[in-house]
């Protein structure tokens, strides 16, 4: 299982043709207390870069984009009652959604964890 990151601080963890998507620990820390997560409907088809979800902190709302294209197969319904899971475990229990990846080739444009770490250090 490999995990990739975008410059907008989403992560996608790939297992076969299923990708689990969330926001990075770095992003969760920048946002502060997450108070609401709006997730897409299961079955929704997303292109790479489409708005997939919205995450809201006390201060502001931020869009979460699809790291690659695909169809939404599951959403993390636990976030509805416990949005702060995103702060506690951004890259674990705080996942947002799962997608069936339509073109694995799109993963090639993303960063691996070392590259992403260097990217964040430069911000």
């Amino acid at each position: 299982m490999s995990t990739y990151y975008t410059e907008d601080h989403e992560w996608i963890s790939v297992d076969g043709d299923t990708g689990t998507v969330g926001i990075s620990v770095y992003a969760a820390k920048q946002l502060g207390d997450v108070v609401y997560v709006e997730l897409p409907d299961v079955g929704k088809s997303l292109d790479k870069g489409d708005e997939a979800a919205v995450v809201e902190s006390v201060k502001a709302a931020s869009e979460v984009y699809a790291p690659v294209g695909g169809e939404v197969t599951a959403i993390n319904e636990a976030l509805e009652d416990a949005p702060d899971t995103v702060n506690a475990s951004a890259e674990g229990d705080g996942w947002f959604l799962k997608i069936k990846i339509s073109d694995a080739g799109e993963l090639g444009s993303l960063m691996d964890s070392d590259k992403y770490k260097a990217y964040c250090d430069g911000l």
Partner: protein, 377 residues
């Protein structure tokens, strides 16, 4: 862009690990490592310390040495009754333009200190203060003078249920003050102007001290276990839950004090349509039952509705806009304020908020969202 100004507590904010952001021309702490939600809840449960030194402080006094002359002069540019202020009393008011639009909102106090009871003390918003001071200068008659104190005075706020106990540890006399009164007294060995007021809905104080004393005073207050530094982020969520207007968002030149629900701050004999700049608009908006109103809005569900969110009626007609909206940590859900057409201003009116293209149900509610806990003796 001009360089950001710093308050005298800048180094303290940075040392405390604050995230600093530009606000009204100042480099200010938006949050500390505790985080906005915890800072907010700490203030409601114990006591929060805010640096509000970016706000403008000034005095107005008359050459003839009487309070009456100074009060009459100020009354030409604010709707509040100033002449009836007793020494040590404080009122909330607004500066209006000729059309009755709100230029800024402010606190006005008559000093209580013997020998100074002819002097008015004003605290205005940071983002408006340069314009405010020019506006005051322009309208004060000869013989009434404005003295700006930004170069000499800092301002901090201590807010929350433990504030009286904490500040009382430095001088027990502060516990005798009631809401919207103030006094001058020593806090330890620091001379301070202390008012029992604030902008969080909680009991608490605003404390004005000389720049050179503010660091030492803050150290003494922070030494108390119940006191935490609180940033602008929590200040915003606290005042929103308390139903208090934020200038530049809920109020600006496009609205009058009546539309903004501030009629309580215009004393009855000042509602007749004359006597101060913008007075005609006050009378007209009181008479006009169709004018819009600022109301509290409680979204159903959990999605916050932010500033500029469109408000619709059940039939999809636009009836207003959210002016402040977010998550209320003490409410435990989304809260908002916004303007609606008068016929929807009644509590429990059902409205829709257009968040990300979807109509989401909400109700008009009475403000505040969290009861005020002001100390009235």
């Amino acid at each position: 862009m001009s360089e950001l100004k710093r308050t005298k507590l800048f180094d303290k904010h940075v040392a405390a690990g604050a995230k600093m952001v530009p606000f009204a021309g100042y480099d200010m702490p938006v949050q500390y490592p505790l985080g906005i939600k915890s800072e907010h809840l700490h203030t409601r449960e114990k006591c929060g310390l805010f640096d509000v030194s970016h706000m403008g402080q000034c005095f107005i006094s008359a050459d003839d040495g009487t309070f009456e002359t100074a009060a009459k002069a100020l009354e030409t540019i604010v709707p509040a009754d100033i002449q009836s202020l007793k020494p040590g009393q404080q009122r909330y008011s607004q500066f209006l333009n000729a059309e009755g639009g709100i230029l800024d909102d402010l606190m006005i106090s008559r000093l209580g200190l013997e020998g100074h009871t002819h002097t008015l003390y004003l605290v205005v918003n940071a983002g408006c203060k340069d314009d405010d001071f020019a506006h005051i200068e322009k309208h004060l008659p000869d013989g009434v003078n404005l003295s700006i104190k930004d170069d000499t005075l800092s301002l901090i706020a201590l807010q929350g249920p433990k504030a009286a106990e904490v500040l009382g540890g430095l001088n027990s006399k502060v516990q005798d003050l009631v809401f919207m009164t103030h006094t001058d007294l020593p806090l330890g060995d620091i001379w301070a102007h202390v008012s029992r007021s604030g902008y969080t809905g909680e009991d608490g104080y605003e404390i004005s001290v000389k720049h050179e004393d503010v660091d030492a005073l803050v150290d003494q207050l922070l030494a108390h276990d119940d006191v935490e530094l609180i940033g602008l982020g929590a200040r915003d969520s606290l005042r929103l839950e308390a139903g208090l207007c934020l200038y530049g968002h809920d109020i600006d030149t496009s609205v009058s004090p009546i539309e903004a629900g501030l009629i309580w701050s215009v004393q009855k004999h000042r509602r007749g349509g004359e006597g101060y700049l913008g007075a005609a608009r006050i009378a007209a908006d009181i008479a006009d039952k169709s004018s819009k109103r600022l109301v509290g809005i409680l979204p159903e569900g959990k999605a916050p509705a932010r500033e500029h969110t469109e408000i619709q009626d059940q039939d999809g007609n636009t009836i207003g806009e959210i002016t402040s909206g977010g998550f209320g940590p003490s409410v435990g859900g989304p809260v908002a304020m916004g303007y609606v057409a008068r016929k929807f201003a009644k509590a429990s009116s059902e409205i829709n908020l257009m968040v990300r293209g979807k109509a989401r149900p909400a109700k008009v509610v009475k403000l505040p969202f969290v009861p005020h806990t002001y100390y009235r003796g």
